[in-house]
Every structure is written in C-alpha cells, then in structure tokens.
C-alpha cells in the first residue's frame, strides 16, 4: 500500500526517547552505587581511604592526594561546556564554530579516557585489580571501583563514538538539519558528565 500517511520522524519523539533512556540508565548506575554503599557499610575489614589510594599524578610526583582525579573531573566538566557551545552555535547556524567546539568535546573525551587508562594502569601496578588489593584491606573496594569506573568509561567511549559520528555527519551535510540529533547527543554527554560527578563524590571523596 502507500505509506504517504506514515508519520514523519517526529523529533519530539526522539528527545523523549533519549530522556527515557537516560532515566533507565540512572537506575543502572543507582544499582551500582547501592552496591557500593552496601559493601562499604557492611565492610568488616579496612575500607581504603581515597586520599591514600589516589595520590598518583603523572609527570609531577606521587604525593598529591586526589589531584589527578580532580583534573580529570575538571576536564570532563569542561567538555560539557564545549558540547553546549557546539549545540548553541549550531542553533545559530554557525557550522564551523559548532564543528570546532564539537572537536574539542571529542578531544577532551579522549583525554579523559586516556587519563583513566593511566590511572587504571597505575593502580594495577600497585596491586589493585578485580579480586586483588594490598593485604589487610577489603577486596570489594577495588572490585566496585573498577566495576563502576569501567562501566562509566564504556559510557564515555560510546559518547565519543556518537560525537565522532555526528561530527562527520555535520561536516558532510549540505543543509543544517542535524540540530535534534546533536541536541540528543548533547543530552547523553551531559548525562555521562553528571554521573561522573556522583562517582567522583561517592568513590573518591567520601
């Protein structure tokens, strides 16, 4: 039959779908964070303190607690701002500006993943890994740390891939009709940043 009556893709629908997906994803992260608190509050052995575990700063020295993760958090939040700027410029039909800001977002995302890899490598050298921890501490500390940051890292990687895809799409397109796509990608990116803020608070700070 003919399908001229079929609804065109309704951008309002995609936006709602994105929000519903994010709500759903919040529940996944809540599951992990609940596990974190359940394990921590029921811990019978020593639960390591973030000040002691995370002292590593590449290129500078070893004795600045939480400095590296603070830098990581800072750059990730900066990427949120650049993502917003990209969307804003795109809305004002400034394609080049938008692409530049999007490029910065991708770059910062890759930097974040790079920093996280450095941290993981360093921690695994110090004896922290799935099922491993320096003697006397609660092994579930490193278990849940790697599980949550790993799961968040996968989200960041997916976000980078989406951003690269949309970068190419905007670069190639003749007319500017990717605003809703860009906006949805932005929603996802801000969400990933927001989750990191909670992870930073719960796992590193307290």
């Amino acid at each position: 039959m003919n399908d001229i009556h079929l609804n065109k893709i309704n951008h309002q629908n995609w936006k709602l779908m994105m929000w519903l997906f994010l709500i759903s994803d919040i529940f996944t992260f809540c599951g992990f964070i609940n596990v974190f608190f359940a394990l921590r509050l029921n811990s019978k052995t020593i639960w390591p303190n973030g000040d002691i575990v995370f002292t590593y700063v590449p290129l500078i020295g070893y004795n600045i607690p939480l400095a590296f993760v603070t830098i990581m958090t800072f750059i990730l939040i900066m990427s949120s701002i650049s993502m917003y700027a990209s969307t804003y410029e795109y809305k004002k039909s400034k394609k080049i500006n938008s692409l530049i800001w999007l490029f910065f977002t991708i770059l910062i995302g890759i930097m974040f993943i790079f920093c996280q890899s450095l941290e993981w490598i360093h921690l695994s050298n110090k004896g922290y890994w799935f099922g491993k921890i320096p003697i006397g501490h609660n092994v579930n500390y490193s278990n849940i740390f790697f599980a949550i940051t790993g799961f968040h890292g996968i989200h960041v990687l997916i976000g980078i891939m989406i951003n690269i895809f949309i970068f190419i799409k905007i670069y190639l397109e003749k007319r500017m009709h990717s605003y809703n796509f860009l906006n949805n990608a932005g929603l996802y990116w801000h969400f990933v940043d927001l989750i990191w803020v909670f992870i930073f608070t719960f796992i590193y700070l307290i």
Binding site: N10, L16, F27, F29, V35, K44, N143
Partner: protein, 585 residues
C-alpha cells in the same frame, strides 16, 4: 526509511510475502512475530513442566520420553537430578520472561498501542523491529543452553548466588549459566528499546481528542507496564554485570567465606543477600509487568461483552497507578527468611498488604461491571471471568504469604508454588488467551472457532484448579519446592497419589493446549471471515479496514469524541457508540 523498504518489497524482483514478514517495520506484523515466538516458547515451557511433573509423580520409573529428548541427561530414561533443577529453571525463565513479559506485553503493546490511540505506527518503527529481533535472539540463546554439554542453568529463575556465581558449583552453574546471563542481557536491551518506544508512542502520538482520560484501560496498563520495565530491568542489568564479574573476574560482590568440595575459596566481603535485593527490585515489579497487561485486557473484554460501561473508570486508572507505584516498595517480601533484619521484614509486610487494596478495588470494579450486564459468553469473556477467578483465589493466598510471620513457615513450599502459579501464571496466561481470542480478527482477519474455544477454556480452567489447589495443602504440610524426589521422605508419603493425580491432570491440560494451537492455525487459513467490528466495540482499532494496510487508516486519522466505554447508553440508537463518531450529525 520505511518507504525504501516498501519499495524494495513491492518490487517485482522481491515480491515475496515471506520477506514482507521478515523485514517488516509495521507494528501489526511485529505483534504477530512476538505472538508466534511467545507461543513457541510457551509450548516448550509447558512441555518442560509436564516432563518434570512426570518425574515428581513417578520418581523411580524410567520414561522413554526423557531418553528421547534428553539422552545426555537421562541415563536409561532416569532423569538426572541436577537436570531436574535445570528443567525447573528453564521452565520459570521461559514462562516469566519470554511468554508473559515479551509475549504478553510485546504482542499487545505492538498491536494495540498504535491502533487504539490512532497513530500510523510506533514512534520509531525501526527500534520496534530491533526490539523484536533482539527478543528472538535472546529466546534462541536461552534454548541454545539445552545443547551445552553441562546442561542449562539450574540456579532457579532467580539465579541466586552462590549457585549461579561459582561456575564449578553444579553442572548447570557452568556454561549453561553463562548462556542464561547472555540471553538475559539481550532480553533486557530488547525490553528497554521496546519500553522506550511504547511510552513515547502513548505520550506523543495520540490522535486528536484522545486525552489521557479517554484512553482505554489497556493502554494505561501497557503504559504503566512499560514504565515498570523501564525502571526495574536496568537494576537487573547492574546485578547481572556484577554477577558476570563474580563468575569470570574473581571479584566477590555476592560471595564470602565459601567452601567448594572441601576447598576454601578466596572470596571475601560480599553477600548473597545483596544480589537478592538487586534481583527482587526487578523481580517484584516484574510480577506486575506480567499481570498488568492481563488486567488491562480483561477490562476491555468485560465491558464489551457485558454491554455495559466499565465500572469506575477513573478508579481503575488510579488503582493501576497505585499498584505500579507500590510494586517498587515490596520487593523484600521475597526475602523474609533470607536473613534480613526483622524490622525491614515488618516494613515490607505493611507495604505488601497495602498493595492488596488497589488490587481489591480492581476486582470489585470487575464484578460491578459484570453486575446486571447483558453478558455474552464469548470465549474471550470466559477467559476473562477465569482470570478474575484466579486473581481472587491467588490474591487471597498472597495476603498469607505477605505476612512475614506466616511466610517463615510457608516460604519455599508448594503453597508458594500454588500462589504464584494461580495469581501470576494462570491469570496472566488467561489474559493472554482472552486477548488472543478477542483480537484474533484484528490480527488475522478471521474469527476463531467458538466451540473449540469453549472446550479449550473449560478443560484449562478446571485443570488449573485441580493442579494447583491441592498444592496449597501440600505446602501447608511443609512440602518444599524444587525437590527431585519426595519418596525419600516418609512424611510426604500421604501425597504420593496426589502427586500422580496432579501429573495426570497437567498432561490433560497440556493436551488441551493443542486444541488451542489447532484452533489458532486452522482459523488463520480456514476460519470464518471477520467483519469490520465483530464484537461491536467502541475503541479505535475496529475502525481500521479489515485488510491490514501500512499506516492503519486509509485517509485521515480518526478524531475521538468520547471515552471508550459508551455501551447501552439510551441516548443512542445502538447499544454501542464508537469513540470516533461525533454526536452532531
């Protein structure tokens, strides 16, 4: 996108009907795909249940049928004890996830949401197709576990650690459990995609005049089902990811101080109860994901077949919302004897008993709808009455089980088996049957045979009570679930004949489902042609042309002027008044 597919398909080169079914993004065809996959899975689940009933009734007798199907796991026809656990596990998993979640809400969400809200298709037909194909993939993955050398998962459908977390614990904990977890991860993604799509469609794509308080109850039920699935399945995802880490990466989220075959395992600091909390945070809403679509279907069918407006339309909606909301606060009533704090137990007793109130309101409204109605005993109506009967019977035992004090004695006995098979299993299956019989004309343009439908109903209805009612007494006498052989315990000797009786009835009811299968397939080809509105119903799905067209309505979308339950209103000439007909002529 859709236009391209349609062009390819209408091309002379590819003018094959089968391709139209495989690559379709049309929600009506996806509904058929969901239904047929779920029926296939349902028959496998039914067959498995008959097999382990045989084992329970005749524990020391070899059966050729075991040897025929599971040669590996049935030495000379004697069923392997650990394989018995696998059968129970897979029966539960298939029935709960693949038949009553994927099948029930998948079929009817796809079929009814666009048709009843007056939309051309789902919000995203592509995601809809993806949701079905992932569902099929996860179904096949689950069935694949029968071909694994150590057999399917055997930790129960609840996959409690440590049995599921230690790959070497029993046969089923090995590869079978891994396959189970993979299958379930795919299922969660499929259900996430589906639910996002259903919610968006209902929220954004209602036709002109169709306000939220003019929606049929079934749409409300499907909306709340989708919301429940959206919020509860991700928590299972988190639990499954951590379980996979426990199995393969040496973490100990759910394990602590464990000996396996005399050897001390270096797991420390975790807790199996943690998994139970995460699992039942999904698990209890899951029960309502199963039953809410069935309750919604029954509301539609009751009103249509009693030729009466649904009693308490708004109360119905509020009680659905209350059930959906409360279902997130009752999960620990599955864990009263797991070793949780008794104070938490009493809190969850209270919330569990509160959830009985909206359920009772719904039952009251059903009965008030039937009261003095002009009842037409069609097959869907019979199944709906059966559903209400099961909902009352099973719901009453739920109040006993919801009490922490009583539950300590009844937990993990056949009383629980009887309770959830009646209230969740049978009631939801009856809702599904009612829905299939009712919307069969919409799905296949033919009517199903009423006489065979009646026979199917009466055999199934009576045998379900004959199977599960005696189990209450077994449970009160302390007979535990999931045991391979009760002859080993002298105290259960009084139930030997009862077990045989239940098995014989379950075989009869199993064969009765073949009547349904025959009716379903025969009517598809040789059934009586259906008219445009065979049940004289008001909702919008009966205003579409009989032949399916992509886009549902030929010309403009219908406009809605009233609520969907305008039956026997003396103001109008007919005893029904479709939603899309204006009062002004």
């Amino acid at each position: 996108m859709d236009r391209q597919t349609d062009n390819i398909l209408s091309n002379n080169k590819f003018n094959m009907k089968i391709l139209k079914y495989i690559f379709s993004r049309d929600h009506k065809i996806i509904a058929k795909q969901f239904l047929i996959t779920a029926m296939f899975m349902g028959f496998i689940g039914l067959f498995i249940s008959v097999l382990f009933r045989l084992q329970l009734a005749y524990p020391n007798r070899p059966f050729y049928i075991f040897k025929l199907f599971f040669n590996k796991f049935a030495n000379d026809g004697y069923l392997d004890p650990s394989f018995y656990l696998s059968l129970v596990t897979i029966h539960g998993t298939i029935m709960i996830f693949f038949v009553l979640t994927g099948g029930l809400s998948g079929t009817f969400s796809n079929l009814l949401i666009p048709l009843q809200i007056g939309a051309r298709d789902m919000a995203s037909p592509f995601l809809n197709m993806l949701s079905y194909w992932l569902f099929l993939l996860s179904s096949l993955t689950m069935l694949y576990s029968f071909f694994v050398i150590t057999g399917p998962a055997s930790a129960g459908w609840t996959i409690y650690p440590p049995l599921s977390a230690l790959p070497k614990a029993i046969n089923g904990s090995g590869t079978g459990q891994t396959v189970w977890l993979i299958s379930m991860s795919i299922f969660i993604i499929s259900s996430l995609i589906g639910n996002i799509n259903y919610i968006t469609t209902i929220m954004n794509m209602r036709t002109q005049g169709l306000t939220m308080y003019r929606l049929p109850i079934i749409i409300w039920a499907l909306l709340l089902t989708a919301i429940l699935g959206l919020l509860s399945f991700p928590v299972l995802m988190a639990a499954v990811i951590l379980l996979i880490l426990d199995r393969g990466f040496g973490t100990s989220f759910y394990l602590s101080d464990i000996f396996l075959a005399g050897e001390y395992l270096h797991y420390d600091g975790g807790s199996p109860i943690l998994f139970q909390h995460l699992f039942w945070f999904l698990g209890h809403p899951e029960v309502y994901i199963v039953i809410l679509p069935a309750l919604g279907i029954s509301s539609e069918i009751l009103s249509i077949n009693c030729r009466k407006p649904l009693f308490g339309y708004h109360t119905m909606i509020y009680s659905l919302i209350a059930i959906a909301g409360l279902s997130f606060f009752v999960w620990a009533h599955h864990m009263f004897i797991s070793g949780i704090n008794p104070l938490i137990g009493s809190v969850f007793t209270i919330t569990t008993l509160i959830i009985a109130v909206p359920s009772a309101i719904k039952v009251f409204n059903y009965i008030a709808t039937i009261w003095r109605g002009n009842i037409k005993f069609t097959t869907p109506m019979l199944f709906t009455i059966g559903l209400i009967s099961f909902f009352i019977t099973g719901g009453l035992t739920g109040i006993y089980l919801g009490n922490a004090i009583l539950d300590i004695n009844l937990n993990d006995t056949y009383f629980v088996v009887a309770h959830f098979h009646i209230v969740m299993g049978s009631a939801a299956i009856f809702g599904m049957f009612a829905g299939i019989y009712h919307w069969y004309p919409k799905l296949f343009q033919k009517m199903m045979n009423e006489k065979l439908g009646h026979i199917h109903f009466w055999i199934t209805y009576i045998s379900i009570y004959l199977i599960f009612f005696p189990m209450h007494f077994m449970g009160i006498n302390g007979m535990p679930r999931r045991y391979y052989d009760f002859n080993a315990f002298g105290m259960f000797n009084i139930f030997i004949n009862m077990n045989k009786f239940i098995t014989i009835i379950s075989i009869i009811s199993g064969f009765a489902q073949l009547i349904f299968l025959y009716n379903f397939t025969y009517s598809m080809f040789k059934g009586k042609d259906s008219s445009k509105n065979p049940w004289k119903a008001n909702t919008l799905e009966w205003t579409t042309p009989i032949e399916h067209i992509h886009g549902n309505w030929e010309n403009d979308l219908p406009v809605v002027y009233r609520w969907p339950y305008e039956y026997s209103n003396p103001k109008y000439q007919d005893d029904y008044m479709p939603q899309n007909i204006s009062d002004k002529h």
